[in-house]
Amino acid sequence: MSSDQIQALKEEIWRRAREKAYKILRDAEAEARRIVDDARKRAEDSLKSKVEPEKLIIRRRVLGRAISEGRRLLILTKNELVEKAFQKAIEKLREDADSKSEAYRSFLFKVLDKALNLLSDSDENLVIYANRSDIPFLRERVKQISSPVADRIRFEEAEIMGGIIVSEADGRRIYYETLEGRIEALKPILRERVAAILFREGD
């Protein structure tokens, strides 16, 4: 073998060796990158699986509380406004009672008529409780109506805004029809209608 041929073989040996070494290093680089990328992905997945359920719990807790607090605020506001309407109505009714408006007198006489009608079969004396300023009107009304119990009626002053309480003397039967009582009795029924007026859409 000539020295040229040997030289050519040596170069071939080195060319192949360098090629192989280069491939080994490139493969290793790729593998190293894959290991790191894979680790990053696994870490992200692991983090996600630990954090996401906790996030959901936090979200539900914090937002749930805010929504519940917000709803409570709306309910309180609505209740407060409905209550304001009732307070305003009480003022108006007090004015009616104080001024003996036509509507109030009509109410007073109607409840008196109704009470006397309901207790017309009573053998007992009757006591009519009313506020001081209503008693003269009621006395007058009793004189005007024909009732079997009319001559057995006694009037007593009561600290009420308006209306009457009629009681048998022995207290066995009592008929309540005060303004205060009617407001309280009607409150649950009227709340919805009042709310419908106060919170209707439009206008």
Partner: protein
């Protein structure tokens, strides 16, 4: 030049490849260590705690916005309803004075 010199070159080339393999192995080991470090740092309790704290702050800001919206709605209700109190009170008055129970 002789076959002996060829064998010597062959040996040197082989060492060159071995060195490449050693470096490759080193790279892999380094990558594995790096991977381990990534796993530890990304999933540590401390990191999770901080992430959740940050998230909670974010959700609280959202909650504040929700609550603010409810406050705005409540104010809106109030301002509209106040103009209707008279009408509602009149309804109550009429019902109370109505003799029909």
């Amino acid at each position: 030049m002789s076959f002996t010199s060829l064998l010597v070159e062959e040996k040197k080339a082989s060492l060159h490849i071995q060195e490449a393999r050693r470096k490759a192995q080193e790279m892999i080991e380094k990558a594995k260590a790096e991977a381990e470090k990534i796993m530890k740092s990304m999933t540590s309790e401390e990191r999770i705690r901080k992430l959740l704290e940050e998230y909670e702050k974010e959700v609280r800001r959202e909650a504040d916005r929700i609550l603010e919206e409810y406050r705005r709605r409540a104010e809106d209700l109030r301002s509209k309803a106040l103009g209707r109190i008279e009408e509602a009170a009149e309804l109550i008055r009429e019902e109370v004075l109505s003799h029909e129970l």
